[in-house]
């Protein structure tokens, strides 16, 4: 953090930037600062404006309003070829008539650098493609092409590297491998990376800071763990992982919040509620599936006091190796998801069983009940 503040001269700053196409607004006026040297992810479903935002930083798209600056320099009106940023395109966009070495050397040559041989060789070494210098792009696999695209951008030592879903075309295993690779390269070269992705896992693994975008605006911005633990909107709660959302009525605001839902009372720490609370108002309570424990109704007495508890009946269970995922139908909040580690499996926990869900009250978060409770939930299914 201190290092970032020292070198704040190279931050990417978007101020009131927006993009409209005719009557369609792709990006709502947006303020965003990407600290120099950070790995920043723009996360969202397709059509949320994340790629448009990236293209406005690259200069490939003209901003309708607002400014883009890099450090102290306003680069809003600079054409792409004058901006000290480079892009790794979704489809790689390698030049098919040039071999790998010439693709990588392209940017250097355009800036009039004559002796590129050494730099190109070093860069190909960094992305582990030293033996492929004379190949044409169509002779490479998807993963190799992707690395050429990264090398072609990185060799220019841009102040910012923009990555537009660079791993989208790769299969799962290769994608995991390239995620680590990109992270390694970023740490090694220390350039600011702005990474656009619809894959929440990818964003959380790689980025220091994630901005979740929805409908052309940033819903929430923060470190991956912070976003996961403290979502401030239902969209973030549902889009990043899975959340159980239970609607209830606030009955007490003294000390911890107490909410009545489904015939019981649930508590949550006041500081974990992002919505304004008044006694008698509505509130959404959120709890992550892996934080919930499951007990058979016969064992309900053994549950420690002070924990939040909700009754229900198991309607579905699926065994996925490390854990078992249960769907529990509950009067409190419809179908609730529960992930149980497969350590000591209770054989009574089968579909049809009456159960009690209980969790540490401190793990509960509160959201404004005026939102769509399912926002962001379906987008995850689309993306996977």
């Amino acid at each position: 953090m201190t290092q970032q503040q020292q070198t704040a001269g190279g931050d990417v700053r978007l101020a009131g930037i927006s993009k409209t196409y005719g009557s369609f607004t792709a990006v709502q006026p947006l303020d965003l600062t990407v600290p120099q040297g950070s790995f920043f992810a723009l996360l969202g479903a397709s059509g949320c404006g994340k790629t448009t935002t990236l293209r406005m930083i690259a200069g490939l798209e003209e901003a309708t309003t607002g400014t883009v600056s890099l450090g102290d320099e306003d680069i809003t009106d600079l054409p792409p070829y004058k901006r000290p940023v480079n892009t790794v395109f979704q489809s790689y966009a390698l030049f098919p008539h040039l071999d790998v070495a010439e693709n990588v050397a392209f940017g250097l040559r355009r800036r009039g650098i004559k002796s590129v041989k050494k730099q190109v060789a070093d860069m190909l070494e960094l992305v582990q493609l030293g033996d492929f210098a004379r190949r044409k792009p169509h002779q490479l696999s998807g993963g190799q092409q992707q690395r050429v695209a990264v090398a072609r951008a990185l060799i220019n030592h841009p102040q910012v590297l923009l990555l537009d879903e660079p791993l989208g075309a790769l299969d799962l295993k290769l994608r995991r491998q390239m995620q680590l690779e990109l992270k390694r390269i970023q740490t090694e070269v220390g350039i600011t990376f702005v990474h656009v992705t619809h894959d929440q896992e990818e964003a959380m693994t790689m980025a220091d800071t994630v901005a979740v975008m929805n409908g052309g605006r940033v819903e929430q911005l923060g470190a991956p763990a912070d976003l996961y633990e403290n979502p401030r909107t239902t969209f973030v709660a549902n889009f990043l992982g899975t959340s159980n959302l239970i609607e209830g009525e606030v009955v007490s605001t003294g000390g911890d919040l107490v909410v009545a839902a489904g015939g019981g009372k649930l508590t949550l720490p006041r500081e974990r509620c992002s919505a304004p609370t008044t006694s008698g108002g509505r509130l959404l309570l959120g709890i992550r599936p892996e934080k919930i424990s499951l007990a058979h109704v016969d064992d309900a007495d053994c549950i420690a006091a002070g924990r939040n508890r909700v009754t229900g009946r198991i309607t579905d269970s699926s065994f996925i190796g490390v854990s078992t995922q249960y769907v529990v139908e509950s009067p409190a909040g419809g179908a609730l998801q529960v992930y149980e580690q497969n350590i000591e499996r209770d054989t009574r926990l089968v579909p049809g069983a009456e159960v009690v869900l209980h969790w540490n009250a401190a793990h509960t978060f509160g959201l404004d009940a005026a939102q769509d409770i399912d926002a962001g939930a379906s987008s995850v299914e689309d993306a996977e």
């Binding site: 200069g59 490939l60 070829y81 395109f89 489809s91 966009a93 098919p96 392209f106 355009r110």
Partner: protein
């Protein structure tokens, strides 16, 4: 059990595991598909070619009949007598090809990248002249370039004709019956053959490559020089071939728009065949033209590095 007993026979391979060779019928399918085209080429290309080749080494006259005498002198004589027409043909066809490229490239570029929803309309407009006969369109140029017509008047007023006359392209305030008229006609008639292949190869270029080049510090001009143009080379090569080859053998433009001083080799071949009735010379001229064009094209393709086209 005796030790000399023969080992049991290996179990016979099950039917499914044996590699099956494709049936003869299947293997012959490509040849059957080739057959109509091969027959067509044989009857209408190979046979006439052989026939003309034999004609070119015959001697005799129309009254006494022609005989194969392996008289190769015809080739030498033909070349000696008609070399100006050969040079003119190549010069006019070459100039027209360059003009077609210069006029056609921007238009093809526009259709491929900038026309948007007008793309199909513009393409139809490019092909539209084909709805009228080649002869009628060429005759129309006779009117366009006529003495005292609007075009000549304008060129005269602007003193363009003074320059072109000085260069030998036009003569004393006339355009019709000059080399310029012939080149204009050739350019006009073959322009679509340049535009269409250019458009096809430009249209195939991924627009994101332009973005990538811009992103990598290439100005729009450099992007064109280093990315767009190299990637459109297949179109440039096939466009120039489709223009140059027919243009060098053309005689209609020279006949209708030119004079005796602008005759191209096509005119000579035509008159040798149909008016002078000197078949051997006409055939020899045809073969010389073919050889020259083949050599030029081979050299050109080698130079432009697109061997994979042929």
């Amino acid at each position: 059990m005796s030790l000399t007993e023969a080992p049991p026979a290996p179990p016979s391979q099950p039917e499914e595991l044996r590699l099956r060779k494709p049936s003869t019928r299947k293997r012959l399918v490509p040849y059957w598909l080739l057959l109509p085209g091969i027959l067509w080429l044989l009857v209408f290309f190979a046979l006439p070619l052989v026939y003309q080749a034999s004609t070119s080494v015959q001697t005799g006259s129309l009254e006494q009949g022609f005989e194969v005498t392996w008289h190769f002198q015809t080739y030498v004589d033909a070349l000696r007598e008609y070399y100006p027409q050969f040079i003119r043909s190549l010069l006019y066809a070459g100039t027209a090809t360059v003009l077609c490229l210069v006029l056609g490239y921007p238009l093809a570029y526009l259709i491929a990248f900038k026309a948007g929803r007008w793309r199909n309309l513009v393409l139809v407009l490019v092909i539209a002249p084909f709805f009228t006969s080649f002869l009628i369109r060429t005759l129309a140029w006779k009117t366009i370039l006529a003495d005292g017509g609007a075009v000549v008047d304008v060129l005269n007023t602007l003193h363009v004709l003074d320059v072109t006359s000085w260069l030998g392209w036009t003569e004393s305030n006339r355009v019709l019956a000059t080399p310029m008229a012939v080149v204009c006609g050739l350019t006009y008639n073959f322009l679509p053959f340049m535009i269409l292949p250019l458009y096809t190869s430009l249209e195939r270029i991924d627009g994101r490559l332009h973005e990538a080049a811009g992103d990598l510090y290439a100005t729009p001009a450099t992007t064109f020089r280093k990315v767009t143009f190299p990637l459109s080379m297949p179109g440039v090569v096939s466009g120039t071939l489709l223009t140059f080859i027919p243009a060098s053998g053309d005689y209609v433009n020279a006949e209708l728009l030119g004079s005796t001083d602008t005759k191209m080799v096509g005119s000579v071949i035509q008159s040798q065949f149909l008016r002078v009735l000197d078949y051997p010379t006409a055939a020899a001229l045809s073969f010389i033209l073919m050889a020259i064009v083949l050599l030029a094209v081979t050299f050109y393709i080698r130079r432009s590095g697109t061997e994979d086209l042929v």
